[in-house]
């Protein structure tokens, strides 16, 4: 009977937790910094009506793609270095009341030349109300954890990204490109598809290891040669960083 009641509690708590009105936002959604200004900050904001607990951690990893999906990959980032070893940030835990804001400051200590990456994880749990008779085991053990991930990229020096591309799939309106990076410098910018000098489409992407990019195109290129050209205009990226980033060489593709 007691076990049955405990089971009910276990079921019941996630149900009403899920009705909570916590809403965490992280700005910026990603950050690219250089050795000229090796510091910065993320701002967390709870736009909901419930308090939240946030646990912040930095994990080596990237957002990478297969031919069909894009997902977070941990403990592996190709030729990009592990930034979490050189990173100091504060705080690593915080409580945000409804409408509350918290600045998470970070600084990079000496890192070797090349591009480095870490994924900042913001794990959010609703805090809920103080309930007098709540069983400690239930109070501590059960809740839904929402994870927000913001890539933090650090460039020590500058270099040209090296990319290869292939077309795993195409439709009359969209071209799927699988881009792979082969250097310690990530690519963040625009990819333009040209055929006979005519631009068929453009999309923006951040390529750390491999990335599937769906580029809307104005017409079907058919089974003919296309050219990929790259630029460093990436939405949300400050101009000072865009000037430092370098665009890879154009790629000729035939299939």
């Amino acid at each position: 009977m007691i076990r049955g009641l405990f089971v009910l509690l276990i079921i019941g708590i996630p149900v009403h937790e899920a009705r909570g009105q916590a809403a965490l936002s992280v700005t910026p959604a990603y950050a690219v910094i250089t050795d000229e200004a090796p510091y910065g900050a993320f701002t967390l904001y709870n736009a909901g009506t419930e308090g939240v607990e946030v646990t912040i951690s930095a994990r080596y990893g990237v957002i990478a793609s297969t031919d069909s999906t894009t997902a977070v990959v941990l403990d592996e980032a190709g030729q990009l270095g592990d930034l979490s070893r050189h990173l100091t940030f504060f705080p690593d835990r915080c409580i945000l009341p409804a409408g509350g804001e918290q600045v998470v400051r970070y600084r990079i200590n000496a890192a070797p030349e090349g591009g480095h990456i870490t994924l900042m994880h913001f794990a959010m749990q609703e805090r809920g109300a103080i309930v007098d008779g709540q069983v400690p085991a239930v109070a501590t053990g059960l809740s839904i954890v929402y994870n927000l991930v913001a890539p933090l990229v650090y460039l020590q020096g500058s270099g040209i990204p090296s990319l290869t591309a292939r077309v795993p799939e195409r439709t009359p309106n969209e071209l799927h490109l699988n881009l792979a990076s082969h250097s310690p410098w990530p690519f963040l910018g625009g990819i333009r598809i040209l055929q006979d000098g005519e631009q068929l489409g453009r999309a923006e992407a951040a390529v750390y290891t491999t990335r599937l990019v769906r580029v809307p195109i104005s017409r079907d290129p058919g089974k003919r040669r296309i050219q990929l050209q790259f630029d460093t205009a990436y939405t949300g990226l400050p101009r000072s960083i865009q000037r430092i980033l370098q665009a890879p060489s154009p790629i000729e593709l035939t299939w």
Partner: protein, 749 residues
């Protein structure tokens, strides 16, 4: 038979037990704005009951019992409830259903979460009085770390000014300083004067004593209890509104959230906001649920300085050679102030009485009647967003004398100004003036001005004379240059020409050149202003029908203590210098090797900073005695482990007539991560105190995180619901991050 009888008795007993009311005690969380409290409640499987005595005490009512009834009373209301069953232990169970039907929308019962919530708009009971959070706007929020600075000798400043015009060369100097715990001001010019003031800003009955030598060598003494800080809270405005259900509503003044509520299920809300002297700009932000876009609305609250807070008496009195005066003001209501004044100057006595009425925060009306002159003065001031009106009427011996009305309105790129009135001049001449003016400021730089004036003069010796004037100007505004072509006519001249204003970093130049059609001569003017770190120069020259006139003026100030500093301001000023530095040795003071961190930004509410070459932040023209709030912008601190010893937010009082140096040591704090184990209650109930001060909350997993300076600290775990101190542990913080485990059984007190 006996067996059947026994069986029947047992069955009846079992049935009675089975059908008896079984009450399960449940904890009910009472949430009123800013306060949470547990009250006892019961559930019988069908209905909920609550401990009436406990609940009504928590809601601020007086509770008394009349037999099996509970009566809850406050100053305005009386509620009666029937207790479920007989009162036990002087308590009374009230059916929650009866309670909710009695209080209506004011209470909401969430059966799933076992929460009883009071709506922020509840008028049934005074939820404001229950707020645990003190109204932050009564005083400037944040710890008040830098109070009024007093000195026997210090803060000396010399302001100088030299002016040359048609009257010759006139030098002037004013010395101000902190002397004998007060302030002294000495004017050295054509007629030297001095004044000594001793202030008591927090006193109720005597805020300032002043004595000195005034114009013409008159010695005098004056006292008052009028608040010295201009921005003194005068009244509280209640803003009611309706928006999306359960939206978050914030009242924001100068970037600071002064009140925040959540709308009820019907979208109704009620905010409270302060209205200081002068105009308070209030922004009401609405954030609907579901991530919809937030909206904001501006409110302007006008509070005239002549309005005295409710039930307060302000006086000011002075005694000088052959002159005495007493002025009294009393706040009859928060929107009505009565005034009375008596004065005797060279044996002549005058009495006046008057009032100031401000029924709404955008309108103020005042009147004054003088005896024995029977002069009556009335002023009306109204300020709404986009509309501003000032009206002034005076009368003597029952007849209107002077009338003056100024009204301005603006909408989009257009602004309209209307000035008009009637003046009684010497010799019973009357002048009627009407002067409408319209401006257009188009966003791309086009600007246009047109006005027309009418002046009608009547008097005993002349027939009515009407003169007209007009001006039309059109031009273009660039980033640093404004050029306007104009045509104008008044009673002296009719001229056509162009004028302009050029603004550079520390210089500005205004010029005009035209042709006077009436006198057939060129007219021109040239004004130059040059500002340097140590002084400011104005020069003006003009040629018109009367010939050529010119004037020059130079001014500046020298701060002699503390330190030597030059400013271009030509008058006494209260200023603040914020020095944010890295405190390497942790002594809280800036040493020679501890540099100012010039990249750290700070926000100064109701004013602004400029960055000095030293890296310090400087703010001039502060209101003396006023509290200013500083917020150090965390995102601008590059080292994540550096924290200001003052806290991120603090306030200071601006000293009268001196530059206040505020030192903010940035110190590295050490991270202390902890875990509370052997929990016997929900961890959200727990708080961690460091050396007796509340410091951190405990997370759902029993963890906590805080920062501490190196040294020995006592960590205490406390239950916030019953205020019970549960455990204590002493930690030694070094320079490396520390992990602490507090076991509620082993470390129990």
């Amino acid at each position: 038979m006996r067996k059947w009888g026994l069986t029947s008795v047992l069955l009846v007993f079992a049935l009675r037990v089975a059908t008896a009311q079984v009450l399960m005690e449940v904890p009910l969380l009472l949430e009123v704005p800013g306060k949470e409290q547990m009250v006892r409640a019961w559930y019988d499987g069908e209905k909920f009951f609550v401990d009436g005595k406990e609940l009504f005490y928590a809601l601020g009512f007086t509770v008394q019992f009349q037999g099996a009834r509970l009566e809850a009373l406050d100053a305005h209301r009386h509620h009666a409830f029937t207790c479920a069953g007989l009162p036990q232990d002087n308590s009374c169970r009230i059916a929650l259903r009866d309670l909710l039907s009695s209080f209506g929308d004011a209470l909401y019962f969430d059966q799933d979460r076992l929460e009883l919530r009071a709506s922020s708009v509840a008028s049934t009971f005074d939820v404001r009085a229950l707020r645990a959070r003190t109204n932050t706007w009564v005083e400037v929020p944040g710890p008040h770390l830098f109070d009024r600075t007093r000195a026997l000798w210090g803060g000396l400043m010399a302001s100088w000014q030299v002016r040359h015009d048609a009257f010759g060369l006139r030098p002037y100097m004013r010395l101000t300083g902190s002397v004998l715990q007060g302030t002294v001001g000495i004017d050295i010019g054509d007629d030297h004067k001095w004044v000594y003031r001793y202030d008591r800003p927090r006193s109720k009955w005597l805020t300032q004593v002043e004595t000195g030598r005034y114009s013409n060598g008159i010695i005098g003494l004056s006292i008052t209890n009028v608040p010295l800080a201009r921005q003194h809270l005068q009244r509280v405005r209640t803003i009611q509104g309706r928006t999306a259900p359960h939206a978050l509503i914030q009242a924001v003044i100068s970037g600071e959230v002064v009140d925040q509520v959540q709308a009820d299920a019907d979208g109704r809300y009620e905010l409270q906001a302060p209205a200081w002297y002068g105009t308070t700009k209030l922004e009401v932000r609405t954030q609907p649920l579901g991530g919809l876009r937030a909206t904001s609305e501006m409110h302007y609250q006008l509070t005239p300085a002549s309005l005295v807070p409710h039930r307060k008496v302000y006086y000011s009195a002075y005694a000088r050679e052959e002159a005495y005066a007493l002025n009294l003001q009393y706040g009859v209501h928060e929107s009505l102030t009565l005034r009375g004044a008596w004065s005797q100057v060279q044996g002549r006595t005058e009495i006046s009485s008057g009032f100031t009425l401000s029924p709404v925060t955008f309108l103020a009306l005042s009147g004054q009647l003088d005896f024995p002159s029977t002069r009556w003065l009335t002023t009306l001031r109204m300020w709404r967003s986009g509309l501003h009106l000032n009206a002034y009427v005076d009368a003597q011996h029952g007849a209107f004398a002077n009338t003056n009305i100024t009204a301005s309105a603006g909408k989009g790129p257009f602004s309209l100004l209307l000035r008009g009135g009637q003046l009684v001049l010497v010799g019973r001449y009357r002048s009627l003036i009407l002067y409408p003016e319209i401006w257009l400021h188009y966003r791309t730089g086009l600007l246009m001005q047109a006005n027309w004036g009418l002046n009608r003069l009547r008097g005993p010796l002349v027939q009515a004379v009407t003169s007209q004037s007009w001006r039309f100007a059109v031009g273009w505004s660039f980033a640093r240059l404004r050029l306007i072509a104009y045509a104008q006519r008044d009673h002296v001249q009719e001229a056509y020409g162009a004028e302009g204003l050029l603004t550079l970093r520390h210089k500005s130049l205004s010029f005009s050149a035209g042709w006077d059609v009436n006198h057939q001569i060129p007219v021109a003017s040239l004004s130059v202003q040059i500002t340097s770190p140590f002084g400011r120069l104005f020069a003006h020259g003009q040629r018109n029908a009367h010939g050529i006139t010119h004037s020059q003026q130079a001014q500046g100030s020298v701060h002699l203590w503390p330190g030597l500093a030059l400013t271009p301001s030509g008058h006494q000023e209260s200023a603040a210098e914020l020095r944010i530095f890295e405190d390497l040795n942790g002594n809280g003071k800036q040493d020679a090797n501890e540099q100012i961190l010039p990249h750290i930004d700070a926000q100064l509410y109701q004013s602004g900073w400029t960055r000095l070459k030293t890296g310090a932040l400087y703010s001039a023209h502060l209101e003396p005695y006023q509290r200013y709030q500083v917020r150090i912008l965390e995102a601008s601190v590059r080292d994540p482990l550096l924290h200001p010893a003052t806290g991120w937010t603090f306030s200071f009082t601006a000293d009268p007539g001196r530059r206040k140096v505020i030192q903010v040591p940035m110190q590295p704090l050490v991270r202390v991560a902890g875990q509370v184990t052997a929990l016997d209650r929900a961890p959200l109930r727990l708080r961690v105190l460091v050396n007796g001060e509340e410091h951190a909350e405990v997370y759902r997993d029993g963890g906590f995180a805080l920062q501490a300076r190196p040294g020995r600290h006592t960590l205490t775990i406390m239950d916030v619901l019953d205020q019970e101190v549960l455990a204590e542990k002493i930690i030694e913080v070094g320079t490396a991050p520390l992990h602490v485990t507090i076991d509620l059984e082993q470390d129990r007190i």
